[in-house]
Each structure stands twice: as C-alpha cells, then as structure tokens.
C-alpha cells in the first residue's frame, strides 16, 4: 500500500534540489552526486512501488488523488496542491523517474570534470521535481506550475555553461519561445475557469462535456489555446526553433529534458485534456496537421545537419510530430506509447552521442568523426540499438511497434487519414535515412580522430539498460494481429484513463499490410543511407552540388528560415524599438515643459542685473507708463 506515499515522488527531487542549492558549494563532488542521483533514484524506487501497488490493488475507478494543501482560495477559485494518479500519469511518472535516474547516473560521470557539479545536479533535481509535478498535477494551475518549472530548468541547463554568450542566447531563446506558448496556455486557463468555474482537470472535462456544445466556439478556442501551450513546449511548428539551439546545454540535459521528458509535455497535456480536444474537431485536425507538417519539415532538416546533437534534436521534433499525429486522430494511447519508446531510444541516442563527444574531447561535427565502431564498441552497439529503434526496424525494436500503431491509426482516421498516413510514412523513410546517415558517418568508414576517453561504468550501465529498453520496450504492446495473449497490454492498461481510439480498429489484414509497408520503408531508408553515405558517398556529394541541391541544403540546414523570419519580424524590431526608446519618448514631453520654464527663467534672470540704478530707471519708467495709461486710457 504505497499510494499514500505518492507525494514523496516529486518531494524527493525537490528536497535534493534544496540541499544542493543551499549546501552544494560546500559539498565535494561525491556527496553532491550522491544527493543528486540518490534523490531521483529513491524517487524512482517509490514510483515503482507505487506502480506495483496501483497495478496489483487498483484504487477505485483506477484513480488515486492526494490533496497536499489548499493553495489559493478566492471567490470560488480554489485550486489545491493536488496530485492525481491514474494509469496515464503513472506511466509518465515511471518514465520520468526511471529514465531520469539513468541519466542522472550517467551525468555523475559525464559532468565529473565540471566546476559547476553540484549546481548541475541541483538544476537537474529541480527539473525532475517540476516534471513530476507537471504529470501528477490534478488541476491545471498546479500543472502550470510544473509546466513553467520545467521551462525554467530547461533555461538554466541550456545556459549551464554560462561563460559562453551563445549558450546564454540559446537559453533565453528557449525560455522566451516556450513562454509564448505558455502565455497561450495561461489564457486558456483563464477562459476555462471563467466559463466552467474550475481548473480541476477531471471536473473541467466533465463540465465541458455537459455545458459546451461539441464543435462550438468555446471548446474550440479553449482547445486551441491549450494547443498553443503544447506547441511551444513540444517544439512543434511554428515554435520549434528553440529546440535545435537548446543543444548548447550539456548532453545529459539534452537527453533528459530535450528528448525524453520535457518536450513531450505538450503531448501529455493534450492527452490529459483529451475530452476538450474531442469536443473541438477543428483543433484536433489542426493537431494532426501540425504534427504531420512538423515531422516532414524537421525530418528534412535533420538530413543535412553536421552537428550530431542537432541531427538528434531535429529528429526529436520530428518524432514528437508523430505523437501529435496520433493525438490528432484520437489514438491517445498510441501517442503515449510512442512517447515512452521515444524516451528510451532518444535518451539512449543522446547518451551515446555524449559518450562519442566526450571521447573526442568535445567534437560535435560528424564529418570529423568516423570509424568509431572499433574504438568504442559499447557506445556503438548501444547507439545502434537506439538508431534501429528510431528507424523502426521491424519486429525487434520498440520504435517499430509504437510507430506502427500510429501509422495504422492515421490510416483509419476518416478522409484526412490517408494523407496523414502518407506524410507519416514519408517521414518514416526520412527518419531511417537521417538516422543511419548518422550511424554510417560516425561509426563506419575510416577513423579520423583518436578516442581519448571511454565511458566508465556509471555511464555504461545507463547505456546498456536503455539499449535493452529500446529493444524490448515495445513488447508491452504487441499488435492484435499477432494473436498473442496479452497483446495491446499497454493500450488496455491506459484505457482506464484515456478513451480508446475514436475510429474503428483496422481489420487485422489491413493492419498487417500497413505494418509490412512500414517495415519495407524503414529498411529501404537504411539502404538509401547505406548507399549514399557509406558505399558511394560521391553520389550524395554530387546531389548536394547541384543548384537545387545547394539551395535545398542551405534551406534545410537553416531550418526552413524560421529563425530568419522571427529575427526579422519580431526580435529585430523589438530590439530596435527598445534601443531607440531607451531614453523614454514620453519623457521628452516633460523635458519640453521643463525647457519652456527654463527659457522664461533665463529671460527674467537677464533683467536682474544687480544694478540699483537700472532698477530705479525701470521703476520710474513703469510708473510713467502706468500713470500715462491711468490718465489717458479713459
């Protein structure tokens, strides 16, 4: 009976943060790591115990809530500090704590030489705590606290190496761009509270279903505003520009925050408020379309990047696009399934990339790597497992099952379904091409640099565990057509929290066919990558050398010019305005009044010569003038 200890799960990382931020500078690296890793580890342990308790002895209605204290209570507005545990938040909690713990463990070694060691773990603990608040919150305001908290930690950790101005710029960009989405979310919260009188998520959805007309203006606007928040946090079109720059942070940060957990908060939010989105079909279609567009756009951008982390960043954006497609077609559990497998394999890929980067002394450019297969066998095999999962290699990888579920759900989704499926399948091709481009360039070919450092045990264990999860993590949700007992376990587990897919499940034959197509596409992508980047790279160079190739490469490399557009239309004018108005145009008005007064002041003080005789003359003159006027002006 671990459920009453639910509050410990977020409280432990927060406690770790407190200890590290107050005492951190006086601690050595050892104690700091013990506190930082230990708090998340304990939290993961509690989460596993809570999960087993939840599964073995489910609470009534498969929901457990815990109100810690009354937060605010004003005129009917009474959000509490309330935790809400159902199967959805349980899965989120497990992924966050377990993957979080593994990444913390990895960081204990990765960051060992850094002078901000305790600061790093303080921020990371704060992040894990905030992320747990986000996924466990029972009302939208408390969720918003976690939501902004993870945004803050993302800022702090992107700018962790604060001495470089570029890192600071990337951090600020990340915070500001996501804040644009957060503001939309906040306005959505206002709208929901003013119209429904509550921010409690379950009550809100019940009331919305009762009082709002499906497809009406209110649910549409509310869902659109929530979507705004989700887009910002999950780096979807058109607010995706911050994520590639966010790679300025340490690699474990990219793995934890910018791949596995925080960036999928938008997916969680939409799944959590699914009733609202079901009631707003227009917005739900927009979710799917945004997802499809994002996965294609970012997939193409990922094809041409040089920086190993940027390839993975674009890949993350693209994979979240898949989740959005799933959400958009109402396949809620498919989105969460993909979230989970993605957390495993993308964290693995980032950690593997981190091992490579650390081994090469901070080298990020893939064209200066090569042949690392022999020098770093462990990193290679783990990275390969992640890459296979990302490319959805048939049958043996987790990515295959989660992506397959999304593809078949999209196929079934009404008239738009085919196009969504087509986009997703094209994206799948792109995914395997850019993934194996990375694998072939980095790990195959001739060695270009010497490895100086190999991952030690604290880094190796997380890699191996994550590699295992990337392969086996998909087996919890075998497709139905396999006819295996226990198939679709994951989706059935989530059924208590998320409604099953809106559309009829595909026939087994169709499903099988779709999976087969996906498998072929995945393998074809790997072959294309093999052909262009390993066996005969001259073709790829030739293609990039053509006029259209050059333009496309440039265009994709710059992420379709979004940054340029925002710089020209928003950032630059704002900076110009602020710089021009530094001395406050309004103040000019007051200084003008002051100047007029000063003018009269000088004018009159000129007459004050200090000469008595001059005064006397003026007095006499004045008397004459006055008398003259008095006498003659009758």
């Amino acid at each position: 009976m671990m459920l009453p200890y639910l509050w410990l799960i977020p409280a432990l990382p927060f406690a770790g943060f407190l200890v590290l931020s107050v005492l951190g500078r006086r601690m050595g690296n050892g104690p700091a790591a013990a506190v930082g890793v230990g708090s998340v580890g304990l939290s993961a342990l509690v989460a596993i115990l809570v999960a087993s308790s939840f599964i073995n002895a489910p609470p009534p209605a498969h929901v457990y809530t815990q109100t810690l204290w009354r937060w605010i209570s004003v005129g009917g507005f009474a959000p509490g500090v309330m935790l809400y545990l159902d199967s959805l938040s349980l899965i989120m909690v497990l992924v966050v704590t377990v993957v979080g713990f593994l990444i913390h463990l990895y960081s204990a070694e990765f960051m060992a030489a850094d002078d901000g060691y305790s600061r790093f773990f303080a921020y990371m603990n704060l992040f894990v705590g905030s992320m747990l608040v986000l996924v466990l919150a029972g009302n939208l305001l408390f969720l918003y606290l976690g939501w902004e908290g993870v945004g803050l930690c993302s800022y702090l950790l992107i700018g962790f190496w604060y001495r470089e101005p570029e890192n600071g710029a990337a951090a600020i960009k990340a915070f500001v761009v996501t804040r644009v989405g957060d503001t939309a979310l906040a306005i959505g919260l206002f709208l929901i509270f003013i119209n429904l009188g509550t921010l409690d998520i379950q009550r809100m959805m019940n009331l919305a279903a009762l009082h709002w007309r499906p497809g009406g203006a209110l649910p549409t606007i509310a869902a659109a505003l929530l979507l705004g928040g989700a887009i910002g946090k999950s780096a979807q079109l058109p607010l995706q520009t911050w994520l590639p720059d966010a790679m300025a942070g340490p690699t474990p940060v990219s793995a934890l925050i910018h791949a596995a957990t925080m960036v999928t908060a938008g997916v969680y939010l939409i799944a959590r408020t699914n009733v609202l989105f079901t009631m707003a079909p227009a917005v739900q279609i927009a979710v799917a379309v945004i997802g499809a567009a994002t996965l294609l756009v970012s997939g193409m951008s990922a094809l041409v990047q040089h920086d190993i982390k940027r390839v993975l960043a674009y890949s993350t954006i693209s994979q979240i696009g898949y989740m959005f497609v799933a959400l958009g077609v109402g396949a809620w559990s498919a989105a969460i399934f993909h979230f989970m497998t993605h957390a495993f394999f993308k964290a693995l890929l980032f950690l593997g990339a981190g091992a490579v980067i650390a081994g090469l002394g901070g080298e990020h450019d893939i064209f200066r790597m090569g042949g690392l297969r022999r020098q770093m066998p462990l990193a290679f095999w783990c990275f390969l497992a992640g890459a296979c999962s990302l490319s959805a290699l048939p049958l043996v990888t987790a990515g295959f099952y989660s992506k397959g579920l999304i593809l078949s759900s999209a196929w079934e989704a009404g008239r738009a379904g085919f196009w969504l499926w087509a986009a997703a399948i094209a994206g799948a091709l792109l995914t395997s091409i850019y993934t194996f481009r990375l694998v072939f360039i980095v790990f195959f070919g001739e060695a270009k640099a010497k490895i100086s450092k190999k991952p030690g045990p604290r880094a190796a264990i997380p890699l191996v565990i994550l590699a295992f999860l990337s392969v086996a993590g998909g087996f919890v949700n075998f497709p139905a057509f396999f006819g295996i007992k226990g198939s679709m376990f994951f989706s059935r587990f989530l059924a208590s929290a998320l409604p099953s897919a809106t559309y009829a499940a595909p026939l087994p034959e169709t499903d099988l066919l779709l999976e087969a197509v996906a498998a072929i596409v995945s393998l074809a992508g790997i072959y294309v990558a093999y052909f262009f980047f390993l066996s005969s790279p001259e073709y790829s160079r030739e293609m990039a050398g053509t006029a259209i190739g050059k333009v496309l490469k440039r265009f994709w490399f710059e992420d379709w010019g979004f940054d340029w557009l925002y710089e020209k239309t928003l950032a630059a004018p704002y900076r110009w305005l602020a710089r021009t108005n530094r001395n406050d145009a309004v103040d000019l008005f007051y200084s003008f009044i002051a100047k007029v007064n000063m003018f009269f002041h000088y004018g009159l003080s000129l007459s004050q010569t200090g000469k008595v005789r001059f005064y006397a003359a003026v007095i006499a003159l004045g008397a004459v003038v006055t008398i003259t006027i008095a006498v003659f002006a009758r």
Binding site: S607, Q608, T609, G610, K611, V612, R613, A616, A617, A620
Partner: protein, 118 residues
C-alpha cells in the same frame, strides 16, 4: 490720501492764489522731481543718489502743500510733515547703508554693488 473733490470748491483765501498760479507751483514741483529722478539715475555716487532722493521727496512735499492750499485744507501740510519725518528716517537709514556699502565695496559707486545679479 486725497479727500474727495467737493462738487463746488470754496477757496478760503482766493487773494493769495491769485498771486502765484497753482500751475506754476506744480511745475516747480515737477521740475524738482525730474531733477531728482535724473539725479538718481545718472549719478553713480551713493551720496548723490541719496541727495537726489531727498529732492524727489521735497518735490512731492511741495506738490502736497500746493494742493492743500488749492483746496484750502490742512491735509497737504500734514502730509508734508509726514514726508519730513519719513525723509529724516530714510536719510539716517540710508546713510548707515552708505557707510556699510563704503566699507563693503571700498567706495561709493552704486554699480559696484551688483551681487544680486540673477
């Protein structure tokens, strides 16, 4: 100061007024006054300025006396006594100031005391 002009003035002693017309006396007073003003404005020596002020005072005193005799009332002469008393006070204060100014500025030049320039 001046009493309201009666509608039908009744001179007490018209014979005297015939001897010197009032206008002449007023012109003398005016001339005296202008001499005083010019003295104040033109002289730079504080003593002379003070003397010119005295002349102006006497000019106005004369005007009072003339006006009083024109209306046959004693007010004009009373005013003159007032002016005399005031002039005495003024001279004593004025001379004291002149002395101070002499020590302060090392001379009697009125333009030297221009510290109040704005």
């Amino acid at each position: 100061m001046m009493p309201p002009i009666p509608a039908n003035p009744a001179p007490v002693n018209p014979l005297r007024m015939d001897m010197i017309p009032m206008n002449y006396a007023l012109i003398v007073a005016w001339v005296l006054f202008v001499i005083g003003v010019i003295g104040v404005l033109a002289r730079r020596n504080l003593l002379f300025i003070l003397m010119s002020v005295e002349i102006m005072l006497n000019a106005s005193g004369l005007a009072f006396v003339v006006a009083g005799s024109r209306w046959g009332q004693p007010d004009g002469q009373i005013m003159f006594i007032f002016i005399l008393a005031m002039a005495a006070a003024e001279v004593s204060v004025g001379l004291a100031l002149v002395l101070l100014a002499y020590h302060r500025f090392g001379g009697l030049d009125a333009d030297a005391a221009n510290r109040m320039k704005g």
